[in-house]
Symmetry: C3
Subunit: 125 residues, 3 copies
């Protein structure tokens, strides 16, 4: 059910982009226990001037190699959201050249009735 929008520098190699997308999905399956088949993602390749990120906020320093992830999903308790953040950043840091400090995540919560997965039906309403 979640819709994942990933903004990533345009000069990232395609295989790395795919890897990031796979890892975000893996983290979501692990932390939120969503079905593996529940995968809907968009990737936006951004030129340097299309992805603007503070150099330093809350004591966290950012490079130019940012991954910005905005996820629209059904409401979740705070603890699960924390687990999701941790899992996404950890997977990306351990398996790609991106650093955990450069993984920025925002969640938008929308109720289950707000989704149609095909055929014009609200499958969870």
């Amino acid at each position: 059910m979640p819709l994942v929008r990933i903004d990533i520098p345009a000069d990232t190699p395609p295989q790395t982009i795919r890897h990031v997308a796979d890892l975000v999905h893996k983290a979501m399956v692990g932390a939120l226990n969503i079905p593996i088949a529940d995968r809907f993602q968009t990737i936006s390749r951004r030129m340097r001037d299309e992805l603007v990120c503070t150099e330093d906020f809350l004591g966290i320093t950012h490079t130019q190699a940012i991954v910005l992830i905005q996820i629209t999903l059904a409401p979740r308790p705070t603890e699960l959201k924390k687990a999701l953040f941790s899992a996404i950043a950890s997977e990306i840091e351990h398996h790609t050249p991106f650093k955990a400090q450069d993984v920025i995540i925002n969640l938008i919560e929308a109720p289950r009735e707000n989704w149609s997965f095909g055929n014009g039906i609200a499958q969870f309403a």
Copy 2:
């Protein structure tokens, strides 16, 4: 008032893209009774690796020719949202090469005071 974001394969002919955008708007006018002039849409042409969709979820099989539609709109009752999903998928299936099963829709609800349609004024606050 709704803001409609359409993600569509980059190899879709421009006239088909325009048609999809027109049909989504037609469905919104019909199902939600919004004014015809209330139209704000973005189109994101996505390369193959920029639009990731499960092959099969909830018994619905997807091709590579997905139309992903995310709509931010004022809150609506469930029945209207169901009618909107149905109208969008039906219009697209009947008038374009896309299949109803490949029309994925998500709604984000935001109150009317969260919009400015120009001149820096919250016209509905």
Copy 3:
């Protein structure tokens, strides 16, 4: 904390795009009193057929030179949201070729626990 998504015509000069992004941030700092360092923005350059805007809605006439701004932010009172709309449109009108009537803004509110600014931590949860 806000995530700002700016959609702008692709033929806008890069320095004007940068200026718009800077002005939106300046307006947010001024109207919402967010830290200057709290800046996260994406810019989507849109071809003519990728940014669809009504020609006339609510008595406001639009040109083809639209700036569409969607901001995900922590909840704010109505008066602050009105001040934000006003500040953004005013800054853009006074310092760029875009007209205030062509500045379209939508806000999505998400609680503070829905953000991670790096390292997989929900800094405000």
